[in-house]
Amino acid sequence: MSVVDVRGLVRSYDGKCAVDHLDLTVEAGQCLAMLGPNGAGKTTTVEILEGYRRRDAGEVSVLDVDPAKVDKRWRQRIGIVLQEAHDLGDATVEEALRHFSHFYKHPRSADEATDLVGLTEQANQRIGSLSGGQRRRLDVALGVIGRPELLFLDEPTTGFDPEARRVFWGLINRLKADGVTILLTTHYLEEADALADRVVVIAKGRKVADTTPDELGGRDRDKVTVRWNDAGVERSEETDTPTRTVQRLVEHFGGEVPGLEIVRMTLEQAYLNLVNREEDS
């Protein structure tokens, strides 16, 4: 069953096309990552799905409702984590969560939400005094306080250090395990790799790829680079059959191959190839 279904979505600003006949589907329980350069139309698309923006053309259904005609009942079923927010600075974590929980029919308690995102120690702290990572986790807590079926995450880890990002991924994976459907936009390829079941790449308002992270840009079928060290000289070979190459090297060295590395095209490389091809066209 599709939670999000988009057909031929079009939106332009002052005659400039921001989203150009986009199709998109997110199945129930799936995490879909939307990737693309700045200005590719990601946020416009997400904000149309969230019911914030109108569209010029196309058919859109989110939880079986057209977001252009949503009511507050529909909002009970979704959670939104905005791209950046610096509101609520004078409230404490616990106050804000408790207040927002009152908007929903079947909310999580403030305690449960702080526990889920690991802010129990900061519960009585002013939101304005939280670190960037803590603030973002609070945004997620506010996004899931109403137990949404569908969660929108717009660039949730921008500005995180690597450790904070990993902690955050653990949190999102816990939500996934609970069966929440997630639509994630991100700039970080490794984030898409860690969280997404499917990735959609958007460039210039058009979809240029819609696949799994492993298959993006054909990186599962592309040649693999095998590198090794032969008496102090770096050697490498591109091959479709890396196992055979390694076998040959093992025979050649009579055992351990010095400095052996087998490298597939990274997700980032596959992504950049796709986007550059689109930008050049």
Partner: protein, 263 residues
């Protein structure tokens, strides 16, 4: 949570958070008292015309009317653009909270701030500057309806105005001269009847003059009515002008209010 309890919860949340903003507390709540202390100290012994009414007694009504303008119009005209830029409005628009609850919460803050201002102003005025307070129920009932209608009108105009500035900073720069202009032309600091006729004419088109005049009817002796422009405090006309502006404000709000920043 049912609608009413949600309104109460939102109002308490808004008031609590507003009170933590020390600047807001100082300027919004203590400014009228500060002004009374200054004007009252400088001109306390002056009497108005041939009446026995002191200048301090005269400006209490004007300062209360200004308090209505600060706590509702100015407060909302600045706070709402700030919340639009910070993402607070976008977050609420994306939540199931009914939009009306937001406005009720904002009105509750205005009411709370005004009550605080009024109590301090009247208490300090009474004990330190010999302001006489009404001793019968009638004038206090007038005080109640003028304050509530004035707050509702100014709050609606503040919400309507909040669509103009692009952020809180420019909101402050835009509203301060407006508030000052009406204070000086509506009989808040100066005796209204002593102002040039053209100035009176402009002020009479807007609500502050009528709030101040109706509140003078509460805090000045009955005979002072003869010293007003129409030889009366004109309560019905004051109610009508405020109500008309409340309607204009409501129409503007429903047409122009934005939850999101312009793109």
């Amino acid at each position: 949570m049912n609608y009413l309890r949600l309104c109460v919860d939102r109002s308490r949340f808004e008031i609590r958070v507003t009170l933590r903003d020390k600047n807001a507390v100082f300027f919004m709540m203590l400014l009228p008292i500060f002004l009374l202390v200054i004007f009252g100290s400088v001109l306390s012994s002056n009497k108005i015309g041939s009446t026995n009414v002191s200048y301090s007694q005269y400006i209490v009504a004007g300062l209360l009317a200004s308090g209505i303008l600060y706590s509702s119009f100015q407060q909302l005209a600045i706070a709402i653009p700030e919340e639009r830029v910070s993402g607070a409005l976008k977050r609420l628009a994306g939540s199931p909270m009914p939009s009306s609850v937001y406005f009720i919460g904002k009105f509750a803050v205005a009411l709370f701030v005004y009550i605080f201002q009024a109590i301090f102003l009247l208490a300090i005025g009474h004990f330190a500057y010999h302001i006489t307070l009404p001793t019968s129920l009638g004038p206090w009932l007038t005080f109640l309806w003028v304050s509530l209608l004035g707050l509702a009108t100014s709050a609606l105009l503040g919400i309507a105005f909040s669509s103009l500035p692009k952020d809180g900073k420019s909101a402050g720069a835009l509203t301060t001269p407006i508030v000052l202009f009406f204070q000086f032309t509506s009989g808040v600091y100066f005796i209204y009847t002593g102002l040039p006729k053209w100035m009176q004419g402009i002020a009479a088109l807007f609500p502050l003059k009528w709030m101040a005049q109706a509140l003078r009817g509460v805090f000045l002796p009955k005979y002072f009515a003869r010293a007003e422009v129409a030889h009366s405090f004109e309560f019905p006309k004051a109610a009508l002008v405020m109500f008309a502006w409340a309607l204009i404000g409501a129409v503007l709000c429903s047409r122009t209010f934005r939850w999101l920043e312009k793109t």
